[in-house]
Assembly symmetry: C2
Homo-oligomer: 112 residues x 2
């Protein structure tokens, strides 16, 4: 029987592995916005509806530790830090695009 091993956790199903590793409402949203181009912390905070500073900082740290994001410090003054996808992070593009396409079905044009 095939099993699926991610870091030290074994799963019986690839979808269960993916769900455990990448799912988490905020992780996917950070990945989605960084997929389009590298982002600063402040941009992500504005782009992601409802995320708190604490959760955003934790999410970025977790995605970095899991190898999906790279934190780039430009060593400038004022400080300039950006987050970009690693190769492993970019492998998630099909999942992120599929989520985006599914959500697009519910698009409404408002006049604001």
């Amino acid at each position: 029987m095939a099993t699926f091993l991610y870091q030290d956790r074994t799963f019986e199903c690839p979808v269960q592995l993916s769900m455990n590793v990448i799912m988490g409402k905020w992780k996917v949203l950070v990945l989605w916005h960084v997929l389009r181009r590298p982002r600063r912390y402040g941009e992500l905070k504005r782009l992601i509806q409802g995320i708190s500073h604490k959760v955003l900082a934790e999410t970025l740290k977790s995605l970095e530790e899991d190898g999906f994001l790279l934190r780039i410090d430009f060593h400038e003054n004022p400080p300039h830090v950006e987050y970009q996808l690693t190769d492993q992070g970019r492998e998630l593009e099909p999942v992120l695009l599929a989520l985006q396409q599914w959500g697009m079905r519910y698009k409404t044009e408002s006049l604001t």
Copy 2:
């Protein structure tokens, strides 16, 4: 500015809509197994590693109410009930397949 309306909830981003509507570790797993063919309750309980009876029953009910699953009662004795995807549920195929493909990277062949 485009917004994305699902039932009575409005989102600013299609990925955030998808995450809120379909994400939930167990929902995606039930959808994944039913995507391949209609399933009985007992099959789903065996197939989904770690799910409890309570959570499986709630997940099935929620997916039915959201219009992703159809519960079919064959009116037999002993009782014979199956769950299958609705058209709306089938629209999630690209998301489910993308999750499966991403997870397949971590496949290991064990001898058991």
